[in-house]
Symmetry: C2
Subunit: 202 residues, 2 copies
Amino acid sequence: MGVASTAPGRRIGTTTSKTRSLLVDAAEQLLLDEGYAAVTSRRVGAKAGLKPQLVHYYFRSMEDLFLEVFRRRADENLARAEAALATDETLRTLWRINADLRGAAFNIEFVALANHHKAIRAEVARYAERFRAIQLEAMARSLAGHGIAADRLPPVAALLLMTGLTQVLSLERALGVTAGHDEALAFVTDLIDRLEPPVAPT
Amino acid sequence: MGVASTAPGRRIGTTTSKTRSLLVDAAEQLLLDEGYAAVTSRRVGAKAGLKPQLVHYYFRSMEDLFLEVFRRRADENLARAEAALATDETLRTLWRINADLRGAAFNIEFVALANHHKAIRAEVARYAERFRAIQLEAMARSLAGHGIAADRLPPVAALLLMTGLTQVLSLERALGVTAGHDEALAFVTDLIDRLEPPVAPT
DNA sequence: GTCTATACTTCGATAGAC
DNA sequence: GTCTATCGAAGTATAGAC
């Protein structure tokens, strides 16, 4: 899509450049360590060991850089989820996908960013929808397989509960608040173990 | 940043000043409308119709301003939750407290901020713990009243599921993603209606 | 007690040098 | 195709005028 740039006067570096990747790496690192406000052209340049102006050579704007950082990670997450569910479409796998979700902090930053930037909001929304769709199919089939009718527990409700729980847990963990987490985790894993008995008994 | 400094040489305005409240109002508005990055002394001053330097007269740092904005809203939320549960300690009230939670966007911003600022993280954590504690007691009593044993559904697990769900829903709503929301909401309200039949039948 | 004039830093972005 | 010199705007914060 579109680097097409109906755009006017400025020259932009190739997307295959090694330097460009370094900048995206540095931006991602900064975002995770210090939040999106720390992702400035100067600091990204410094972290990458490069001149800050290079950020503006490879990206038309800071927003473009954010989008690149987001897409890279998002594509990774989607691919990982798809791969996991392709071989094993179970509740346990779904739970693992949600619980292991790398960088919940990452998501928080982008949701916060999405409030401000229209283009980022659109991208995050698109990702959220795709991620949901991938999981929803698996959830529906899993529940049906366990004889749980959709009118008793709608698959999308189960999925939203699962997603919500894992997000709250990781969000609180980042704050240093973990009271009750073990109990909540045990509740879910017990539930899954009952529906899908583990192969190796403890 | 870390201007820690129990500080020396600068004069700070009184906390009862009308001007001060105007600045906090403006900051809160900006935070909700455009995200925390938009909360700068210049923009806060402009929104309040005042000189930007006044922000630094009434607050030792921008972090102090953020803390003030957060506390004001947090205290309001805690008081509202306490009041609601004092008169009516039911699942339905708990659900309402979570679902109605004003400004989920607000929470997002502060959680994102908490990643960066230690003082803010501490304050947000303290708030999260108090909010949880207030609800947990009510949840435990409600479940017990409905004959649901704590070893079958630990109250804290129920609460985390509830909180997680409402947070994910409002977060997604902010993104413009609402697929499945109605089903999830219906699932929970039906569940509550079954345990606590509504007084006025539809 | 309240506010302003001012200092200095860092920001995103571009035009032009290699 | 790649990078740098440089600009004007915006950031936080302080010292000092009312």
